[in-house]
């Protein structure tokens, strides 16, 4: 039995070596994504895979499950099995740097999507969602919607996630300038709809007199909205989210959520795949960082948007 396994493994390895330099074979692109446990990243990964295929490449999606160690395994496997490029959504700005360097040393270009890594030269290009600026715009809208005064609640995402704090900081960089806007509670709901509903229910007991809720993603905004509905407060309290997920877009359309920030995972994923394509064709001078702006979506411009992007 042991022998058989070893034989199988070496066959796989050989097969990997065989296609690496093969001329007739289509080149292979690995898509390593931080998690598939969140629809936003599923969309990002699938769009990247679809674009790579459309450009004539083979592609495969690897799920790091928010685990930098697992991500490291994926990189090693991708390098060993002869992938020619990696479209990469990092789990951690600092922790992922070493993985990207490993690929670079093996001569495999890495193109970062949505989240950046803390290194100037490891990745070939970085196409990033500008969460921080997006939340500045959301903050401005929030201030306006609340008329510069009132109590509000902030629902944070996973507190060990860079994105959680990027969004929170962007928002506070605006809102904290208004002394009559008071944050009465700041709690984490882990980017999770159910947790957000429960946390919001409890917060409402302590602070029934709030005027607004800022949630770090749309799932939490939807959960908060449901808690507000159950408490009979829906419509009186402004709720804003972040992402541009389908549920949130529909909710804004129905006049429920006040606003969300639309990121463009489709644009990001397709640009990354196109960069890889151009790299294969010889291009080397990619901008180190390409921020993709985030649009604020509210009732006034909702007609232009659909889930995860602009209407065509």
């Amino acid at each position: 039995m042991k022998k058989l396994t070893i034989a199988l493994v070496s066959m796989i390895l050989l097969a990997g070596c065989g296609t690496r330099d093969g001329n007739g074979q289509p080149k292979k692109i690995a898509i390593v994504v931080s998690t598939l446990n969140n629809p936003w990243f599923v969309f990002l990964a699938q769009t990247a895979a679809a674009k790579a295929k459309a450009l004539g490449y083979e592609s495969k999606i690897f799920d790091s499950q928010n685990n930098t160690a697992l991500e490291s395994d994926h990189f090693e496997n991708a390098i060993a099995s002869g992938y020619n490029a990696i479209l990469f959504n990092p789990t951690d700005a600092k922790g992922s740097v070493i993985n990207v360097k490993k690929a670079k040393d093996a001569g495999i270009p890495v193109f970062c999507m949505d989240r950046e890594i803390d290194s100037r030269d490891a990745a070939t290009s970085q196409i990033l969602s500008d969460s921080y600026s997006g939340c500045i715009d959301l903050g401005k809208l929030f201030v306006k919607a609340l008329n510069k005064k009132g109590n509000y609640v902030e629902l944070l995402g996973i507190v060990s996630d860079d994105n959680t704090w990027n969004r929170s900081k962007g928002f506070h960089s605006v809102v904290d300038n208004y002394p009559h806007l008071k944050m009465v509670a700041q709690q984490s709901a882990d980017f999770d709809r159910n947790k957000a509903m429960e946390v919001m229910e409890s917060i409402l007991q302590a602070h029934p007199d709030i005027d607004g809720v800022f949630a770090g993603n749309d799932a939490m905004a939807m959960g908060a909205w449901q808690a507000l509905t159950a408490a009979g407060l829906a419509g009186k309290i402004k709720v804003i989210g972040f992402d541009g997920a389908e549920d949130a877009i529909n909710s804004i359309k129905e006049g429920k959520l006040t606003a969300t920030a639309m990121q463009f995972p489709k644009t990001i994923a397709e640009l990354a795949a196109t960069d890889a394509d151009e790299y294969f064709k010889g291009k080397r001078d990619f901008p180190h960082k390409l921020p993709i702006p985030v649009d604020v979506v509210s009732a006034t411009n909702i007609d232009k948007y659909t889930a995860y992007g602009k209407k065509n």
């Binding site: 446990n37 709690q187 709809r193 159910n194 429960e198 946390v199 229910e201 409890s202 302590a206 389908e246």
Partner: protein, 326 residues
């Protein structure tokens, strides 16, 4: 007789969780005047209802000296099945057929899915002697994968007002979610105290060898217990999905931990044979009250995790000390 002794110990641990809960409630009501209100009471009961259902199943499993790590994933998959069938039915284009599902049909289907996965756990554990930790760990990822496959990684939302009723409706002045968990608890208490199956469960956890020699069909009992665990996870799945009006692909993540915490805080021994359903219910209430209270007091999310862990440790230490004295 051991039976009398274990009853005495059981009532002691039950008493002890109750005292812990009482102290917690008094402390919280002194610290926040928002805690001890009827509305907040309903909040807490609604919030723990899912954990209560799952933890009742977990208690039965733990009483046989087993463990079920797959409850959160089974919850997610059953919820996704319910939402998917309700919203989309089963199209069968090859035969130009479409199978639609009524609300009842959807619920039954979700329960069958939960039962099947639970049965599979039990079958692996008894037929192939896979340790429960490993078998249900495998199911944790299998069922999560099935959830991803069936939802394609996206939430299934807007399930209609009838289905909504389970999660946000009230019946005779009590939330439907609380009714469901109350009925579950009552059925489980009857099962444990009044039926032969209940006695077998304790016997297996107390001493499996002795139970086998006394003619108990160990494997059959275990399979039934894991199947019940799966069904109750599916009940939880229906509750969560209805409450959110949406089946989330990542629903139920880490629920097995909350559930094991409730069982342990409730005084059930992880080595089996000792513990009560009501203890677990108290454990779940303690966790729920703690979650609620820490938010009411605006405790930072970082500290909340530390505090919850300490409470679990403390309750087990007290439990150990008591059982040594007895």
């Amino acid at each position: 007789m051991p039976m009398g002794l274990s009853n005495y110990r059981a009532s002691l641990t039950r008493f002890q969780s109750f005292i812990a809960l009482l102290i917690l409630c008094i402390a919280l009501s002194l610290l926040s005047n928002k805690f001890l209100t009827i509305e907040n009471g309903w909040n807490v009961l609604r919030q723990i209802s899912v954990n209560v259902c799952i933890s009742v199943g977990m208690t039965l499993v733990v009483l046989t000296a087993g463990i079920d790590l797959s409850v959160g994933s089974i919850l997610a998959f059953s919820g996704a099945v319910a939402a998917g069938l309700l919203k989309n039915g089963i199209p069968w284009p090859a035969h130009d057929l479409f199978i639609g599902f009524t609300l009842l049909g959807t619920i039954v289907a979700a329960l069958i899915v939960g039962a099947a996965l639970g049965f599979f756990n039990g079958w692996m554990i008894t037929r192939f002697k896979v340790p429960p930790f490993v078998a249900t760990l495998a199911m944790l990822t299998i069922a999560r994968g099935l959830t991803m496959l069936s939802t394609k990684g996206y939430p299934i939302s807007s399930l209609g007002s009838k289905f909504d009723f389970i999660g946000s409706g009230w019946l005779l002045g009590i939330p439907v979610l609380v009714w469901i968990s109350a009925v579950t608890v009552i059925l489980a208490v009857v099962l444990v105290r009044k039926t032969p199956l209940g006695r077998y469960i304790y016997a297996i956890g107390g001493n499996e060898q002795a139970a086998r020699l006394s003619g108990i069909h160990i494997n059959r009992v275990k399979i039934i217990v894991y199947t019940i665990g799966g069904i109750l996870a599916a009940v939880g799945g229906i509750m969560v999905t209805s409450r959110l009006d949406s089946a989330q692909p990542n629903a139920g993540t880490n629920y097995e931990l909350d559930s094991i915490a409730a069982v342990v805080i409730g005084g059930t021994s992880l080595s089996g044979g000792r513990g009560t359903i009501m203890g677990t219910v108290l454990g779940a209430i303690i966790i729920g009250v703690l979650n609620n209270g820490l938010v009411l007091l605006d405790v930072s999310p970082f500290w909340q995790q530390v505090i919850k862990g300490l409470v679990i440790l403390l309750s087990v230490i007290v439990d150990k000390m008591n059982s040594q004295e007895a």
